[in-house]
């Protein structure tokens, strides 16, 4: 088995890709993963991008 996999670069690549796909597909089937954007908490992002001036004023008025 090992000899076949390590025979040349192509057999090795194909083996790695099969394992890679196998793991992904199996995991996907088990967890029912769908295309989703993971939620990332980010309390500052809105403040900084959209309300930069507001942010300035809030802080200074304090």
């Amino acid at each position: 088995m090992k000899n076949i996999i390590l025979k040349n670069r192509y057999t090795l690549l194909i083996t790695v890709l099969i394992v890679y796909m196998g793991v992904l597909v199996t995991e996907g089937a088990i967890t029912g993963r769908e295309a989703r954007v993971f939620d990332f908490e980010n309390p500052y992002f809105d403040l900084n991008i959209n309300n930069l001036e507001e942010f300035f004023e809030i802080e200074v008025e304090r």
Partner: protein
Amino acid sequence: MDKFTLFQFYALLKREFLEHRNLFLGAPAVLAALILVAAIWIASQLEQAEIVKGMEYLSVLFDGLSPFDMAPFFMMLAIPFMITLYICSLIYLVNTLFQDRKEMSVLFWQSMPVSNFKTVLSKVVTVVVVAPIFYVAIIFALYLVGMIWLTVLGLINGVDLVGIGWMFLAAIASLLLIYLSTFIASLWLFPTLGWLLLFSAFARKTPALWAIGVFILVGFLEDFMFGSQYLANWVESRATNPNQYLIFDFHNVLDRLFNYDMLFGLIVGSILVAGAVYMRRFID
């Protein structure tokens, strides 16, 4: 781990830096220089009184506030650096196992008692741990120049420098956030890292083309064979939304590091990195 192994690994990291110093030091240094020139140009367009007013404003704004709370304020300044780092890391990963085979120096590297595993590991550590250090150092140098500049201006114009000092502390604290962001982002993108290393070790020519081409092919194959698009979904969920590359809050760090999706990504990436290690035996 004994002392020799540590020194040996340090030498491997040093080799990566020396070979790719343009990507890890040159690129951010040029960027920092450009930003400095732009800042000088902007300052030269403004009235002195306006600058002093702005400084007084910032001094009041930052005075007495925790640097860690105000650090995210400076994350915005670092975004160009982080984008540069990601691009340079991609270039590095595609080329690193390919370049030495192309220029035949691979026979020299392989004639040294260094295992393929250590070689590939040194490249992973370079991207995940070492490269961000250089970027953060360059940003630090930029902030230092900025602080000296503002201090001199403040002294001349009698601005309260205590608040400016607080601002500088916040800038320093942001460096830690920047480092954590890039470190966690490269772990988050570990499958991409492994994929690129695999094809860097595999291709005889044009590794980037192989990496992209086979990726598309495998995506189609999955759809065709299993009727699923986990591969494409997987990438889509990790490539979109810039929020996942930035950490604005120290409290997020542990959540980002220890969760199921991160762990699974590391496992999948490790399969590909292991492939790259074994691929190293085919050098011609």
